[in-house]
């Protein structure tokens, strides 16, 4: 147990030091993910020009709350591991990592978590500014924040695992990162980055509830905006937990197959 704990501490503190070096970049990365902000502005203008000032029961301020919630949650869910794996497999820098008595996945996971710590303060500052400019208001119940954070953590872990699996496809194909773009599309669409899920056609909603995406992105945003209950959060956590188990085993299977392939080509 102590050995594992020490490994974890060293992993995290080295990755944290690395991420602090990149702090200027972290702010730029935050600002470059603008799709949810663009959608927020468009929906706000739509609602403002509607005859009763609402679209599907959402006022401009409610749109602002929802999409800023999406923006914040999206910031917590950022995963870039597929790009790194792609480079590591292609350039062979994966090989020395295989000699260590630790699955290389944990190193990436620690880097992502450490980056979140660097990102968090800047994110709070920006969201406060945006909320003030757009007139958004957030839930006043501290439990909602805890639940949103918990869901975001589960969602991040699930996303990390499936993105890692996609990255591992680099063992077989050169275009693994383009699969990632397609999966991002599913994540953004079903997660509710374009609009709250209730705005989608019924059949899309019926499909979406079986996927992890609405619970990792849309649900935390609704909690922050004060539009979802703790019971919803509990149900979402269960679905996400189930998906987490699935992704865990898929990742493990693909990793083992991939290593065999990697070894076979003599790397």
């Amino acid at each position: 147990m102590t050995a594992a704990w020490r490994k974890l501490r060293v992993l995290f503190s080295t990755r944290f030091a690395e991420m602090v070096e990149y702090r200027a970049e972290v702010v730029i990365w935050m600002l470059s993910g603008t799709l949810s902000l663009v959608m927020m502005l468009v929906w706000m203008a739509q609602a403002a020009s509607a005859p009763d000032g609402k679209i599907n029961g959402y006022t401009p301020a409610e749109f602002a709350s929802y999409f800023l919630g999406i923006w914040v949650t999206g910031q917590l869910l950022v995963v870039w591991v597929a790009w790194e794996l792609d480079v590591e497999v292609r350039q062979g820098t994966l090989s020395p990592k295989l000699l260590r008595p630790l699955d290389p996945m944990w190193e990436h996971y620690a880097a992502h978590v450490a980056e979140r710590v660097v990102r968090f303060p800047a994110m709070l500052g920006l969201v406060a500014l945006f909320a003030w400019l757009a007139g958004a208001s957030f839930s006043t119940d501290p439990l909602h924040y805890l639940a949103a954070l918990g869901l975001a953590l589960l969602g991040f872990s699930a996303r990390f695992l499936y993105e890692y699996t996609i990255g591992l496809l680099a063992f077989w194909t050169e275009s693994s990162t383009s699969f990632q773009e397609l999966v991002w599309l599913l994540y953004a669409a079903l997660g509710g980055m374009f609009a709250p899920l209730a705005f989608y056609p019924g059949w899309v909603q019926a499909v979406a509830v079986w996927t992890p995406f609405p619970y990792m992105l849309g649900l935390p945003a609704q909690l922050l905006a004060g539009k979802a209950s703790l019971a919803d959060a509990g149900r979402g956590a269960l679905v996400l937990g189930a998906w987490l188990v699935v992704f865990w085993f898929v990742r493990l299977a693909v990793w083992r197959l991939g290593l065999r392939k990697y070894g076979a080509v003599g790397a």
Partner: protein, 262 residues
């Protein structure tokens, strides 16, 4: 002039044969293009899917689709012609291979801007043109509108090129420029919607501060015949001004270049 055209043909031939060696990348490029158009279409699809919504920012569905078409077309222009060249400027400055470009008896800005080509993303160009054609077939357009849109889109491309070149030229002072282009992509994402779909203060920002409006909204307005003469004039003027300014900036950067070793 003919010398430059001949060089462009040579460059194109060279990059084409280099790229077609990697056939697997082709599949990846198609997937990526599909992803791009998916995001663009979902964005306006959900907006117009709401009951009682006929227009967004005063644009009907097919008119807004024109803007999406111009957006995809511009994404294509960026990924086929602009980005492959511009992303190499920073690398050339860092490794010192910029020396060779500057030593050639050829305008250096032309050299860095036309050397590479990403043919794999031609799909984006086709998708963009296809969307424009589909949307146009549902609208009544005039030949004058077409001509106007073509001219205004040309200035749009010049504006996009100038923004990218200006951002990439900063590589002469800062080693990394990737982040600047990330930031541009973030702001450019707003161009998938007509600029009137945004709240009024943002509209001004998208027209005058970051001239995103000139890139997709203005050509689409020219097609539908709703363009005001002021904007029609402003677009080529902005393009010309941007070109002169980035040209001066480029000259200044090259003058201060001291190669990688010193």
């Amino acid at each position: 002039m003919t010398r430059y055209l001949r060089l462009m043909r040579l460059f194109t031939g060279a990059t084409l044969s280099a790229q077609l060696e990697y056939r697997a990348n082709f599949v990846g490029a198609i997937l990526a293009s599909l992803g791009e158009v998916g995001v663009a279409l979902l964005g306006i699809g959900v907006l117009f899917g709401q009951p009682g919504t006929d227009t967004v920012g005063g644009w009907t569905f097919h008119e807004a689709l024109l803007v999406t078409g111009f957006f995809m077309l511009t994404e294509g222009v960026i990924s086929v012609f602009i980005q492959p060249n511009m992303s190499k400027i920073a690398e050339a400055v860092r490794t010192g291979s910029m020396d060779f470009t500057l030593l050639k008896p050829l305008d250096a800005q032309f050299g860095v801007s036309t050397r590479h080509l990403n043919v794999l993303r031609v799909g984006d160009l086709l998708i963009g043109l296809g969307l424009i054609a589909y949307a146009a077939s549902h609208l009544t357009l005039t030949p004058g509108g077409f001509a106007g849109a073509a001219v205004l889109y040309l200035s749009a491309v010049v504006i996009v090129y100038c923004i990218w070149l200006a951002l990439s030229t900063t590589a002469f002072w800062f080693v990394k420029t990737q982040n600047a282009s990330e930031l541009f992509n973030g702001v450019f994402g707003a161009a998938r919607f007509p600029v009137t779909a945004f709240p009024v203060p943002i509209r001004a920002l998208l027209t005058f501060v970051v001239p995103v409006a000139f890139i997709t909204t203005v050509p689409a307005q020219a097609l539908t015949g709703t363009l005001t003469p002021a904007l029609a004039l402003a677009s080529p003027l902005v393009a010309a001004a941007a070109f002169v300014l980035t040209r001066l900036f480029w000259k200044k950067a090259v003058a201060s270049y001291t190669s990688a070793s010193s």
